[in-house]
């Protein structure tokens, strides 16, 4: 007897479904092998192209290649194949990979080769593409090959709604202009992710600070965009902007806990004799993680004024507070370790453990 549900899917339906699934399966299998085969073809084509570009790149790297006119037959052969789009893209990618590992004259020569092979046109086409990923590639190529005259194209995109385009345009401007390029922070409407901040800081590492930063830091520290304040604090920290001490102190009252945390981190690097007391002043109002951060900071920048404060914190019921207060005490005062040892003997095992921990830590460090 047939089950009712077997009538729901009749043999005809099953047959149709089977045929459809089998067809899909075969299509997928065919697709898989086509992709594999295509990858192989691409690999072979790239191999051919790489034999042409390798000599040129090697010449650039070891300094035997000077310019277009003096080059040998490989340039001529390369020129012949550059009418193909994928070949041009391949060469651009090769040069891009090379230039990232070069500096000085060799880097300039790669840029020159890029210009002379007229590859800039490709990058410009890409930057005007509607597809965000192609546009981004165009931006990267333009700044990688030092196309400073295209800076306006990059500026157009620094506040793009597309995150990737925006990030690469920002990096591009900094890459080409150094600290001057940070002007986009004045009017940035989107937040800078921590990842982007990291990339910006890495880009700036290749440039020399020439005073541009100091001109703008005050307004960035007051920016309505919290991420701009955060990166400004990091600039002040990394580039030791000591004269912005007061502005950074002001950030300790910011509503955003991350900004207050970064401000403490920055103050650690631009501290003066009043900083530790300022931190003590805000201590009681702060959340637990920032309290720990303040104790860590006092450990590095504290002075005699914080002795009573640290002693009080050493008696705090929270063991983490105890530990960091003890560490600050021993770092700031020669008698700190003795105080700790005595407290350990007199009171309980927690202080004894903390004492042993810090004593060993000091030895190991």
């Amino acid at each position: 007897m047939q089950y009712v549900f077997l009538k729901i899917i009749t043999p005809a339906t099953i047959n149709t479904a089977t045929i459809i699934l089998l067809s899909l399966l075969l299509i997928l299998l065919l697709f898989a092998f086509l992709i594999l085969n295509n990858s192989k073809q691409i690999f072979i084509r790239k191999k051919k192209l790489s034999t042409l570009t390798e000599n040129l790149i090697a010449g650039i790297v070891i300094g035997t290649w000077d310019n277009w006119e003096e080059d040998n037959s490989s340039i001529i052969r390369l020129k012949k194949i550059l009418h193909k789009k994928d070949a041009r893209n391949y060469v651009i990618n090769q040069l891009e990979a090379t230039i990232n590992n070069l500096s000085g004259a060799a880097k300039q020569k790669v840029q020159l080769l890029y210009n002379q092979l007229n590859l800039k046109q490709d990058s410009l086409k890409k930057i005007h593409s509607r597809k965000w990923n192609i546009k981004t590639k165009g931006i990267i190529e333009l700044y990688t090959f030092g196309q400073t005259d295209m800076i306006h194209e990059l500026y157009k995109n620094v506040d793009s709604h597309n995150e990737i385009i925006r990030m690469e345009a920002q990096i591009g401007i900094i890459n080409l202009l150094g600290f001057k390029g940070l002007n986009f922070l004045d009017s940035l409407t989107y937040p800078l992710t921590e990842w982007q901040q990291l990339k910006i800081l890495e880009q700036l590492a290749a440039h020399t600070e020439d005073g541009q930063l100091s001109d703008n830091l005050s307004k960035w520290l007051l920016s309505a965009n919290d991420s701009v304040v955060l990166i400004a604090l990091r600039f002040a920290e990394i580039f030791q902007k000591l004269h912005f001490h007061n502005e950074v102190l002001h950030c300790l009252t910011h509503t955003n806990a991350r900004i207050r945390s970064q401000a403490i981190e920055t103050l650690l690097h631009i501290a003066n004799e009043t900083t530790a007391n300022e931190l003590v002043n805000i201590y009681n109002e702060e959340i637990f993680s920032i309290k720990i951060q303040i104790l860590k900071a006092i450990s590095a920048i504290g002075n005699k004024d914080q002795f009573d404060f640290l002693l009080t914190q050493l008696s705090n019921e929270n063991d983490m507070i105890k530990l960091y207060a003890a560490r600050a005490l021993t770092h700031c005062f020669k008698t700190g370790l003795t105080i700790l040892e005595e407290k350990g003997k007199a009171l309980n095992t927690v202080y004894e453990k903390i004492y042993l921990h810090i004593k060993k830590e000091m030895l190991l460090n």
């Binding site: 549900f5 005809a12 399966l25 594999l36 990232n100 590639k137 901040q197 983490m320 927690v350 190991l364």
Partner: protein, 1158 residues
């Protein structure tokens, strides 16, 4: 029932897989496009990267610990520490580490933010080269406890938890940490990474040098499985931000949230999943926006089990881990407060990860058993199996394709071929192994089997004596989910307790159902007399009931235990609701049956809300007494279901035995066997059927209709819905274009009526009287209940009279389309198509084209059953209750404010008042007085007439007593007969009378007076009377409503040369005027709006799955003739197929034909 569960589950699963594939593509595409511009090499060395603590628990890893530690220390990242936690290893792991890395005890002060086992010592290196390394030596406490210890020691913001033997790619840390740095408006709480299979890969100095596909068969299978799980599953859930699992082998976490949640749970074997679920829950409860991210780059390589024993233990553990996690967080299940976690992720894991092995295993076992016992054919079994395997292949090959397009780790074509072969072999060895291990995992949960050896080191039973310093998650979590030891004993006892509770409620339910059944049987016996029902009837009733009760208890059982897994109270409440509903449903349906003598099935769904309201309202069943009684019964039922179970004690073993019986009954659909036992008498047979069973099964068939299918190669296939029997004329129908117009055919030119008529000068008027409920059972000579229609009887003697005539429907909905247009039923009756009714020919439309005027008269609301619309479409004037003047006509008495409208005498009075036209006309009248609640204006008078009539018929006292049970019904029949007499008396005085043909038939047999057989419901008289008749005749051959219009039109065409189309879509072929009993027609009959289960052909009737032989007095008897049954089944299916075709294009006639006819 079980087949539906499996079917719906399979459909959901397939949809889920397709959705997963779709979302995985979106996520991978987005990830690859965004990340192709990132130079990780440059950034990994940046001093600005956030700091990370790598936690690597190790247990007896002495052989590889040094190499693994070196590998971790050499990762390409600037700010990180490596914390190796020696979890009480019994080998020389610690000594090796101390020696190799120049470690010494750091006297570390540990802040126990998370409660863990005792830490013996924390070691740091004297050598500054290894300053990133911290080694913890602790008492054995399991992986979760070791990781918690690491978390207590970790000093950095982000944690990366890995298995110490995993091999990481160089840039793994930066890639894992990137998602944490990319979000601005949401907090990333965890990131998962892809884990790949390292077996057979070449690894040197802790670095992966060459990727190879594993040579070991099981490992290769797992390679495929990992690709599928990570590239498809995890990526799709990442796209939806619904990830619940980050592999314990490699995952990054926000330390602050991990500590706030209380760290890993050491009391579960699925600590990795449990942590992620708890973190998600924590964020949801804090109402903070968050993300659990996942990156598809192959960053972590690990060795997978290459022996089946280890693999089985691993899968057993995974299953238990999933179970424990889901149980611990059952609050999330479909809880909208937890958004996607509660509404999608948790249900997915529950249904398709946890329950999948169970459904697969028992589903397969069920099908296998069905095939072995012959319930399904072996070829069906294998076809389904093949389809399922094919779906699995598709999913695997799709994953392989994605792998090739994205990371293509196995670059050689031969590796891809090997992977594809692995995919093809998977269903035959690896997958069954995995499913079986999972089943054993369930077994372990019940039998207290802790599974693999490592469980012993977890140390379930001891707690750390160290006092917690910081909050633990036990304090942070809501009370009901506080960590508690998941004792297998507890699970077993919980299960037993649930089984006992279920049984006590179910026994109470049985008692209530049987009590309700008893009420039904007693009420019936009181009403219809004890003597009319044999012991067999009562016994069969109880047998059918018990089989249904056990079967539905099986369904309740599955529901109850699944819910009990989530929450016991919810399970109990749902069971009580289901049980109460069933009792009330049974009571309501049995009362319906007792009142109407028909079973309520899916036909309920064929009526609109308004129609149901009108029917119920006018039946008068709703009054304050009934409502109070209903409230009382509901209260009593619920009270009984709550309190009686407390008095029923059942031990564990008995409970399990009974539960098993229920489940088996459910699995094997026991009711279908007991319901095959039939009684000859229709009413008695219906009485034995369990009413909820009938309602539920027909409703399921209604909502999941079967597609008619004919095996054209079967011996019994007859080509069309007719047989090759020469008597059958249906086979001679010449269909023109069955694909486009399934019913279109050339009209049969046989004119069987002309011989009986004199011709007149002008075309005759036609008056069709369709009498509500007029059955042969109580009308005309030979009526087995005695004839209560004396006038109709006398008229039939002066007429052409078909004594074995059949209506096409079991209810009124079918009468107009069948009689006046010979139309197919479509889905719920032709009129129910509403505005979608295809254009068609009808008696009215054709006669209108021949200068007739057409009118439809009905005492009620013609919107009922869409009659008004049907008539409008046929350009027929409608005169329903709205056109009756209240000053001239009197409505039938109302009950509860409802009435069907005007009585039959008023109806005929109305017709007579309107019949003044020069043109020939066709009047169609549908009566209404003989309808439930059988209340008429002159009730007393006709009750007296009823008594007189019984005397005239010579009924004895017993018969009279039986008849008096339906006195109101008979009184209305006598009233209707009188009304027709009144009509004929007055009409005969009009000038039109002599040139009029009268046709009288019933729309169906009144079902409220118990019927004798299935065919009784359709058995009605057909009378064609006219002063133009040359001679009278009585025909015993079978014809139906379908045949009236074709024959009448041929008469008018041949005698009066009316124009009629030569191509039509009539269902009927014309009346049979052979006087002896025979049936040359092959027609479907539609009992209710939702069921086309009846078919007549030759001397047979098919009803459902039963074949009956029809005798010359229209009695039927159940017979066994498989070949004949198959023939009728094929014919019925052929009709259904055509009927379905009609529903696909709503075309009966080509436009050109309609145009010409106009």
């Amino acid at each position: 029932m079980v087949q539906y569960v499996i079917f719906i589950y399979s459909i959901l699963l397939i949809i889920t897989y397709f959705a997963i594939s779709f979302f995985a593509i979106l996520e991978i595409k987005s990830y690859l496009q965004k990340n192709k511009f990132t130079n990780y090499t440059l950034l990994a060395a940046s001093k600005y990267t956030p700091s990370i603590s790598i936690l690597a628990p190790a247990y007896n890893e002495g052989q590889t610990i040094i190499e693994n530690a070196r590998s971790l220390l050499s990762l390409y990242y600037s700010n990180f520490e490596v914390i190796i936690i020696n979890d009480g290893s019994k080998d020389d792991s610690l000594q090796k580490l101390i020696q190799e890395f120049e470690l010494e005890n750091a006297n570390y002060f540990i802040n126990y933010q998370i409660n863990t086992k005792e830490v013996k010592a924390v070691y740091k290196s004297k050598n500054p080269i290894y300053k990133k390394l911290i080694v913890i030596d602790k008492v054995n406490g399991g992986k979760a406890d070791a990781l918690n210890t690491g978390i207590n020691i970790a000093s950095n913001k982000y944690l990366v938890c890995i298995d110490v033997d995993c091999v990481l790619e160089n840039d793994a840390l930066l890639k894992m940490i990137k998602p944490f740095l990319e979000q601005t408006d949401k907090r990333v709480i965890a990131t998962g990474g892809v884990v790949r299979v390292a077996n057979s890969c070449i690894i040197e100095h802790g670095r992966l040098v060459k990727v190879n596909l594993p040579t070991n068969f099981l490992a290769r299978m797992q390679s495929l499985e990992y690709i599928r799980a990570f590239i498809l599953g995890r990526m799709a859930w990442s796209h939806l931000n619904g990830l619940l699992l980050i592999s314990g082998a490699f995952g990054a976490f926000d330390k602050e949230i991990v500590i706030a949640c209380g760290g890993y749970n050491p009391n579960t074997v699925g600590e990795d999943m449990e942590l992620v679920v708890r973190m998600r829950r924590y964020m949801e409860e804090k109402k903070e926006k968050y993300v659990v991210s996942f990156i598809p780059d192959p960053l972590c390589w690990t060795e997978v089990p290459s022996s089946s024993e280890i693999l089985k233990r691993q899968r057993n553990r995974w299953l238990r881990g999933t179970f424990e996690t889901l149980k611990l967080h059952k609050k999330l299940f479909f809880n909208p407060a937890y958004h996607i976690t509660g509404l999608l992720s948790y249900p997915y894991w529950f249904l398709f990860e946890l329950c999948a092995p169970l459904v697969e295993f028992f589903g397969l076992a069920f099908f296998l058993l069905s095939a072995l016992t012959g319930l399904i054919e072996w070829n069906t079994f294998f076809t389904y199996l093949f389809l399922i395997i094919l779906l699995g292949y598709l999913y695997s090959i799709f994953a392989i394709c994605l792998e090739i397009i994205t990371y293509n780790q196995y670059r050689r074509q031969s590796d891809i071929v090997q992977l594809i072969i692995a995919a093809l072999l998977e269903p035959f060895y690896f997958h069954p192994l995995v499913v079986w291990s999972s089943i054993k995992g369930f077994g372990s949960l019940i039998t207290r089997n802790k599974g693999w050896g490592e469980m012993t080191r977890v140390g379930f039973t001891t707690q750390n004596k160290t006092q917690p310093i910081a909050q633990t998650f036990t304090e942070l979590l809501p009370v009901e989910t506080k960590r508690k030891r998941l004792s297998i004993t507890t699970i077993f006892f919980n299960l037993t307790a649930s089984a006992k509770q279920f049984i006590s409620i179910t026994i109470t339910l049985f008692l209530l159902l049987l009590a309700s059944r008893l009420v039904e049987l007693i009420q019936n016996s009181v009403h219809n007399g004890f003597s009319n029902f044999t012991v067999k009837t009562y016994t069969l009733s109880v047998i059918k009931d018990i089989s249904f009760y056990t079967q539905i208890a099986g369904a309740f059982c599955i529901l109850f235990f699944l819910l009990a897994f989530i929450h016991k109270t919810i399970a109990k409440i749902i069971l009580l609701i289901c049980a109460s509903s069933l009792v009330i449903l049974q009571l309501a349906l049995s009362q319906y049956f007792l009142r109407t003598s028909v079973l309520l099935g899916s036909d309920l769904w064929g009526y609109s809300y308004q129609e149901i309201l009108q029917t119920i309202g006018s039946s008068g069943i709703f009054n304050i007494k009934i409502i109070l009684l209903a409230v009382l019964i509901i209260t009593a039922t619920v009270t009984a279901l709550i309190f009686i179970p407390k008095l029923i004690k059942c031990n564990g073993i008995t409970s399990y035995i009974i539960v098993s019986i229920f489940l088996l009954s459910f699995l094997f659909n026991t009711s279908q066997y007991t319901n095959q036992i039939q009684l000859q008498q229709e009413f008695s047979n219906n009485l034995t059927i369990n009413k909820p069973y009938y309602f539920i099964t027909t409703s399921i068939q209604h909502f999941f209709p079967s597609t008619p299918y004919n095996d054209i190669y079967a011996d019994t296939y007859i080509g069309d819905y007719g047989s090759d029997n020469e008597k059958n004329v249906t086979t001679s129908i010449n269909y023109i274009d069955e694909k486009k117009f399934p019913f279109l055919h050339t009209m049969d030119s046989t004119d069987v009526l002309s011989n009986f008529f004199n011709s007149s000068a002008k075309p005759p008027n036609i008056v069709i009287i369709l009498v509500e409920g007029l059955g042969r059972a109580f009308s005309n000579k030979g009526a087995y209940l005695g004839s209560f229609t004396p006038f109709i009887d006398s008229l039939s003697e002066k007429s052409l009279y078909w004594e074995n005539f059949l209506s096409e429907g079991g209810r009124t909905f079918a009468v107009l389309p069948s009689v006046t247009a010979s139309l197919p039923f479509a889905k719920n009756g032709f009129c129910e198509l509403g505005n979608l009714m295809p254009q068609h020919f009808s008696l009215m439309s054709i006669l209108n084209n021949n200068n007739y005027t057409s009118n439809f008269y009905y005492g009620g609301n013609a919107d009922f059953d869409n009659m008004h619309l049907f008539m409008q479409k046929n350009k027929t004037n409608v005169h329903d209750e709205q056109s009756f003047s209240s000053s001239l006509y009197k409505k039938m008495p109302a009950t509860n404010g409802f009435t069907w409208g005007y009585g039959d005498k008023d109806l005929f009075k109305k017709i007579l008042s309107e019949t003044t036209t020069e043109l020939p006309f066709i009047d169609i009248a549908l009566t209404v007085s003989t309808h439930d609640p059988f209340i008429i204006n002159e009730e007393d008078k006709y009750l007296q007439k009823f008594e007189q009539r019984m005397n005239e018929l010579g009924l004895d006292e017993t018969q009279k007593k039986e008849h008096r049970n339906y006195e109101k019904n008979y009184a209305t029949i006598l009233y209707m007969d009188d009304a027709i007499k009144y009509f004929f008396n007055l009409y005969s005085k009009t000038k039109e009378f002599n040139n009029t043909i009268f046709i009288i038939t019933g729309d169906h047999r009144m079902p409220e007076i118990p019927m004798s057989s299935k065919i009784d419901r359709y058995h009605v008289p057909l009378i064609i009377y006219s002063p133009l008749l040359k001679r009278t005749a009585k025909f015993s051959s079978v014809s139906t409503h379908f045949d009236i219009t074709p024959s009448l039109l041929m008469l008018l065409h041949n005698t009066y040369h009316l124009k009629i189309p030569t191509t039509v879509s009539w269902m009927g072929t014309g009346l049979d005027t052979v006087r002896s009993f025979r049936n040359i027609h092959a027609y479907p009959l539609m009992q209710t709006k939702t069921e086309i289960n009846d078919f007549i052909m030759e001397d047979y009737m098919l009803s459902g799955n039963n074949l009956y032989a029809i005798s010359n007095n229209m009695d039927i008897s159940l017979i066994q003739n498989d070949s004949k049954k198959q023939q009728l089944n094929n014919a019925l299916n052929k009709f259904k197929y055509k009927n379905n075709q009609l529903l696909s294009n709503y075309k009966l006639l080509p436009d050109s034909l309609l145009k010409n006819s106009n």
